[in-house]
Amino acid sequence: MIKLPLTSSQTVGPFFGPALLCEDAIRNVLTQPETSGERIRIEGRVLDGDGMPVPDAMVEIWQANAHGRYNHSADQGHALLEPSFLGFGRSGTEEDGCYWFETIKPGRVPFYHEQFQAPHICVTIFSRGLLNHLVTRLYFEDEQTNAEDPILLRVPDERRSTLLARRGNREGMVVYRFDIVMQGAGETAFFNL
């Protein structure tokens, strides 16, 4: 089989905003009125090795719908597909390092054989100073199935809590807080993907 060498990665740099975060490229809100599932807001800060906010990062998310189905041809499962829910989000960070999304809590997606994964959202981070993007996952702290999630179990015990979003409430909205620490104390567990 052919194996072509891959194109290398380079930093997104400081000036991507007008292109990648313009009005029709940014996607803070993933839901449509008809989207089923528990409405949640995800928010957090991106922090550097000095604990300082990163004001020029971009965070992308990818998730299944509330039934546990990805809107993608490679997902041939039987869970209900909702065509109007893409499951992709893209947010910039503000001066205080904050990003946010309004979405729904995803359902469980298959792992292997009869196993399922705990509900999770794939998270990708880009910024000046990142020669490659960072890849991680957001899990929900109040989710019983975390204890048996095959990916979470690969993360060393002492780092697992960095992947758990904290549930809160604000003005009737469920808010999950998920800070992303690029370096140093409390460094988020990133994946080799």
């Binding site: 194109t7 000036f15 991507f16 292109a19 990818w62 792992f111 054989h113 490659n132 690029m182 460094e187």
Partner: protein, 243 residues
């Protein structure tokens, strides 16, 4: 490029991808993760992705010489940048979104944080996008970007480059990178480009001048192919399921 610390932590192939920490590029020092990346099996979450689903694009988006919508044309050497997006199995990646951004012909970005005294061009936004066709081919019409000064080290200049964002078919194929132009003396001096670990991998970031792409009395042609990771890996490999 001497006496620099290069970090151990690399995502993916060490012959291809830069380390997160590359001290000559100063911004990596406080943004590079220092703990080992977690090795995880591929699941449906990684073998799917938003690539094929974003398609809200018009043909005008791929013409950076006119997409400022002013009625005027951007100043600079008009160029065509075209090529194919392929996966590492050699298969074309059709119908996937490419987003690009670049400095103008004078090396200035239209961005509030770029304040060096290069002139702005009112007819140039420096951003474009397109979808690959059924054969994985993309094509942009733009102007050749100028070199750009930055504050990384004394008298630092970035070589002319165009930023590319590519989705591909899954989370594995997501790529943000930069395309460079041939025969640029600034390549050897650029820490961002030189963070790429091998000569062969750096060379793959440089477009080729292609006279067959050049259009007479109109624009110079450059060809640059992009190879992203395919989703041909088998999910849920048995060794992962037997633990």
């Amino acid at each position: 490029m001497r006496n620099i610390t290069i970090g151990e932590i690399v995502r993916g192939d060490r012959e291809v991808f830069p380390p997160y920490l590359y001290e000559a590029y100063q911004s990596t020092r406080r943004r590079a993760p220092m703990l080992p990346l977690i090795e995880v099996p591929l699941t449906l979450s990684e073998l799917t992705g938003p690539g094929p689903a974003i398609s809200d694009i018009t043909p005008e988006d791929a013409d950076l010489t006119r997409n400022a919508g002013t009625g005027g044309e951007a100043i600079g050497q008009r160029i065509i940048v075209t090529g194919r997006v392929l996966d590492d199995g050699g298969n074309p990646v059709p119908n996937t979104l490419l987003e690009i951004w670049q400095a103008n012909a004078a090396g200035r970005y239209l961005h509030k944080r770029d304040q060096w005294p290069g002139p702005l061009d009112p007819n140039f936004l420096g951003m474009g996008r397109c979808l690959t066709n059924d054969e994985g081919i993309y094509r942009f019409l733009t102007i050749r970007p100028g070199a750009y000064p930055w504050k990384n080290h004394p008298n630092a200049w970035r070589p002319s480059h165009i930023h590319f964002s590519v989705f591909g078919q899954s989370m594995l194929s997501r790529l943000v990178t930069q395309m460079y132009f041939p025969d640029d003396p600034l390549h050897a001096l650029d820490p961002i480009m030189n963070a790429v670990p091998t000569e062969a991998a750096r060379k793959r970031l440089i477009a080729l001048y292609d006279h067959d792409v050049t259009e007479p009395e109109w624009a110079l042609g450059y060809r640059w192919d992009i190879v992203v990771r395919g989703a041909n890996a088998t999910p849920f490999e048995s060794k992962e399921g037997e633990q």
